[in-house]
Subunit: 344 residues, 2 copies
């Protein structure tokens, strides 16, 4: 088993560790508060693992990879610390604030010969690939995606607080937090857009509470609704002339149906339609990344693996570029980001 270090002790770290069962063995967890680390390890049955107080200590452990689920604002710094110590990293989405950060991290990874992954779990799911395949076989007219979840932190915003996920200091907002999944879908399925327009509705904290994102392509477009201050159950639709493909969301896609006039047919269906816990859905991601890191450590990626890794890296780069352009053009700058920086 690959030896895993973890930084960040929130819900997503717990799910990631559960998803890693039998694939990654947790060696150490970094957290300012020992209690948080102990609780995470107890919850996941990883009681053999050590607690360390900082990223600097974490990288002195004997690790094959580090999972970074610290606040978004610390991702780049933590990734660079791991990379410089020669340790592969998986960075929770949204991995990096902007193309400048992205380049810093991936250049360092090249230099130090380690792999970097952005944990956008939908990219690894079988339903995601099924949609990609269906799109390849069709001529697309347009698409509509919606990712709108009422955040448990939104009520705090309404009472004047600034939770990390709604903070400019911490790189929050609906687009980077949820929209990133929809942009991953668009870029994976349709390629890099030629135009990006984001019309956000701003929270009192300065980030986007919700918005409409339109990605333009030669001959078609993708219209996306993203929200953290309301919930929607609208399915995704990809329009191909008289036919449309319908499926739920842009992640955990269980079935894809084709509708044309009154006719409905099934394009794709995974084995089960029962609800799957998050850690089970993250399993695809864990297995794909584990396979790449194992080969990398064992001497090198195969040609196919190299192509997979480059595809994932390119996806991450373009998604970061698109989200940053959308955000900056809409006037949303994280703390310390320059409004005049030449990013594209």
């Amino acid at each position: 088993m690959l030896r895993l270090g973890v930084i960040g002790t929130g819900m997503i770290s717990e799910q990631f560790i559960r998803a890693s069962h039998g694939v990654f063995k947790v060696i150490a967890v970094a957290s300012r508060r020992e209690e948080s680390a102990r609780q995470l390890l107890n919850n996941t049955g990883m009681t053999d693992a050590r607690w360390v107080a900082s990223m600097e200590e974490l990288v002195t452990e004997p690790l094959d990879l580090i999972y970074i689920a610290s606040p978004n604002s610390l991702h780049a710094q933590h990734a660079l610390t791991a990379i410089k110590a020669g340790i592969n990293v998986i960075v929770e989405k949204p991995a990096f604030w902007n193309p400048a950060q992205w380049e810093d991290v991936f250049s360092a990874a090249d230099e130090h010969g380690v792999l970097v992954f952005e944990a956008a779990r939908n990219v690894y799911e079988p339903g995601f690939a099924a949609v990609a395949q269906a799109v390849q076989e069709r001529e697309v007219t347009s698409a509509s995606f919606t990712f709108a979840q009422y955040s448990s932190r939104w009520d705090a915003v309404l009472t004047g607080d600034v939770p990390n996920i709604f903070s400019l200091d911490f790189g929050g907002g609906a687009l980077v937090d949820l929209g990133v999944y929809t942009v991953y879908a668009a870029v994976a399925w349709f390629g890099e857009p030629t135009g990006v327009t984001y019309m956000p509705s701003l929270a009192p904290t300065g980030v986007d509470a919700h918005g409409t994102l339109v990605l333009s392509y030669p001959g078609f477009d993708v219209s996306i609704r993203i929200a953290k201050d309301f919930a929607s159950s609208l399915p995704s639709e990809i329009y191909c002339g008289r036919e449309r493909l319908i499926f739920d969301g842009v992640q955990d896609i269980r079935a894809v149906h084709s509708v044309q006039g009154e006719e409905t047919s099934r394009v794709f269906e995974v084995g089960t339609t029962d609800p799957q816990p998050l850690h089970q859905l993250m399993r695809y991601e864990v297995e794909a990344i584990s396979s790449l890191i194992s080969s990398h450590l064992a001497g090198g990626l195969s040609n196919g693996q190299r192509a997979s890794y480059l595809r994932l890296t390119e996806l991450s780069r373009v998604v970061n570029k698109v989200c940053t352009k959308a955000r900056h053009d809409a006037g949303i700058f994280f703390t310390g980001e320059s409004e005049t920086a030449e990013i594209l």
Copy 2:
């Protein structure tokens, strides 16, 4: 019964005449081709009515009102001819190309003491009023509307033809043809937007085949998908904090449901959920307009009727303004429209 003249012999005229049964009596139909008029009158059982060859002849008939369903490009001219002859008019939507046309027609109507109605039938439906009421009782966060129907004429566009509904000469395109219903809904339910952005996908003919329209309001927004080159069955959603209202489309609204977390409750339901033919749905419009014109002819509107008429007129004005701004800002100008005209 009020005495009705009709210009335009297409499907919508037939439905309007059916909807008018027992309320309006067709006296004459204007059409360049007698055969078209005869067929319309036969289809609707109005065989007593006369055929006339032009609008100029039509207004010499003894009429209380004229229903104008000629091509969009002739609406204003035909309305002015009727108004100057002292005849009330109902103009099929989209009634007028832009605010300049709109002002010409409504000023003339004031001057000549006649009433002008835009036939946006959804405004008159009980489900439409039920949504308005539900919105009044809530604080709105956002809304998503979709009106996307694959046009039977789109295939002709793809083979190089220019059907009226996709023609800049005839004032066509998805926004003015279908989007107008969604803009009526937004303006009726939420008022005049403070910002309007339209991102169209252009047809080879120069009009919009589909697009995304975002209407901004203080504190919320409305995101609208409109299409004539693809079909969608996405319902409408109005988001109010943790609650959302869900209903089908922005017309023929039979039921409105409220969803909050796992809980669903019914806000409104009309008597029947059976499909209703178009002429039955147009009946609400016919009855409301008939009542106003009857009172007007009988000596004057009551205060309540006056308020209704002014509300309808104001709705039509704002919808026209919003659609024109959306269209012009997106670079879509109908033939003869000035790109430099000061319209707002």
